[in-house]
Symmetry: C2
Subunit: 257 residues, 2 copies
DNA sequence: GCAGGCTGTTCGACAATGAGAAACATTATA
DNA sequence: TATAATGTTTCTCATTGTCGAACAGCCTGC
């Protein structure tokens, strides 16, 4: 207690450990008490108590001796997805985009300096991948993320960079802050963002911001696909035009509802 | 501490209070510190600390002075929905059912003696209601729930009744245990369950169990619609036949995968 | 523009309560 | 059947959550 400033971190540690336990269960697809205890370096009895608590509130299910993530999260997750009218309306637009382009379309939101997939729909052409709703990805390495960043106050962008850094996911990822700021400026002028394999190799994407009242950015819509199809007019005119039109409709829906 | 047996309840109380806080935020669509403190009868400072913790782990977002449920839950909820191959395969079947019948189709699972909506799809004809994924409903008052109960060990059914009771949701709800057991027997013989306004007035539904290896019940598929359409051959033959066929396909998929 | 009453946030002290070690119970295995 | 692994319970200690009160910011209303 000699460092009252450092140790404070005014935070409930038991809640954090419970969270870490659930996270671990998710990562390894269910586990037994001792496994969790060993992996997280916590006493067996402690883990057990946390698991009993989590089972009681429905966040964890016990199947034999294996504990795994329960359905309670679904309830809260679905609530988060629809608690703002804007989010709920975005879902339709994502479906529309996927149907029209036959590619993969998604709606993302910024949270904690990262971008979160809130809705995703895969059109016929799209590669069938893990939907990954709720997944978090670095915000600087996607079209949707950059579209959001471009409409966030510069100061906030700086904070996000400080906190998360500009990690390289491929050789195309923007890792220099100045380069990123220049790109954001360009995005603002052009109206849409492009992602050229900055996230995953041979994957391109186009993203546009969705602005609410007083021009605050709510999230962004994006469409992504393979480089061999995402090129030329298609990625520089057709997709951006469609996205901008859709975002505009969505913004109007949001404003007058 | 004179009652070491009663008070034990070997459970992490901080985790429970954090959970209650999040639950409250959901129920009232976001709230400020003092509001939560007053509502739950906890000190302001305590609530604050919990909220700070929850924000840190991403379960709660702070917008101005209002705290609300965050997107972290989405990640875990989506995981819960797909952690078993059977669940993921059920999604397609639900879509299929909704498309074929144009009614509302859903896949439910039992957890903690209640039934949880895991997937729901609304066909063109279906009344557009709140999707309610993740919502929990009394298991004895729906076709899907009864279909599950019918394939659970009698002892377990008894436990569920003891724990949750047979609350009446409409005047048609089965509230007598013996009547319920008789109904479950009938369901087993007939192969499918019917819900005649036991849940919501003027709503009927048909449900069939989905059985996994060694005939353990995994969940159930159901189709629901208004009484004026759900009658005669449609509800007694067409829908049940379609459901039984679909469940059978699903069971085969599950067994050989 | 200033005072008063709201908030959210921080601080400090006490004691409740969560953590861990070890005993116990239970299952699976050889 | 015995042995080893697990899950569960018990117990003690001090960590750490709780509360009340003080502090700081904001808006309201005079």
């Amino acid at each position: 207690m000699a460092q009252p400033t450092i140790d404070s971190e005014n935070t409930v540690k038991s809640v954090e450990t419970s969270f870490h336990i659930v996270e671990y269960l998710k990562d390894v697809d269910g586990a037994r008490v001792t496994e969790v205890a060993d992996a997280l370096g916590i006493a067996k009895s402690t883990v057990h108590r946390h698991l009993v608590t989590l089972v009681e509130i429905g966040c964890v299910v016990k199947e034999g001796d294996i504990y795994d993530v329960g359905f309670r999260f679904l309830e809260f997750g679905e609530y988060a997805k629809t608690r703002k009218a804007a989010y709920a309306m975005a879902e339709e637009k994502v479906k529309e985009l996927a149907a029209k382009t036959e590619e993969r379309a998604q709606f993302l939101v910024e949270e904690h300096g990262q971008s979160v997939f809130v809705y995703r729909e895969t059109g016929r052409n799209a590669v069938q991948t893990d939907p990954g709703i709720g997944k978090r990805v670095p915000i600087h390495a996607s079209a949707a993320g950059k579209a959001i960043l471009a409409h966030l106050p510069t100061e906030e962008v700086r904070e996000i960079i400080d906190q998360h850094g500009l990690v390289a996911l491929t050789e195309h990822t923007i890792t220099d802050p100045d380069a990123l700021f220049a790109e954001l400026e360009e995005i603002r002028e052009r109206g849409y963002a492009l992602n050229n394999q900055e996230n995953i190799d041979s994957l391109r994407a186009v993203g546009v911001p969705v602005l609410g009242n007083n021009d605050q950015v709510i999230g962004s819509l994006s469409v992504s696909g393979p480089t061999h199809r995402f090129k030329g007019q298609y990625v520089e005119r057709e997709i951006p035009d469609l996205l901008l039109g859709t975002a505009n409709e969505l913004e109007l829906n949001i404003k007058y509802s």
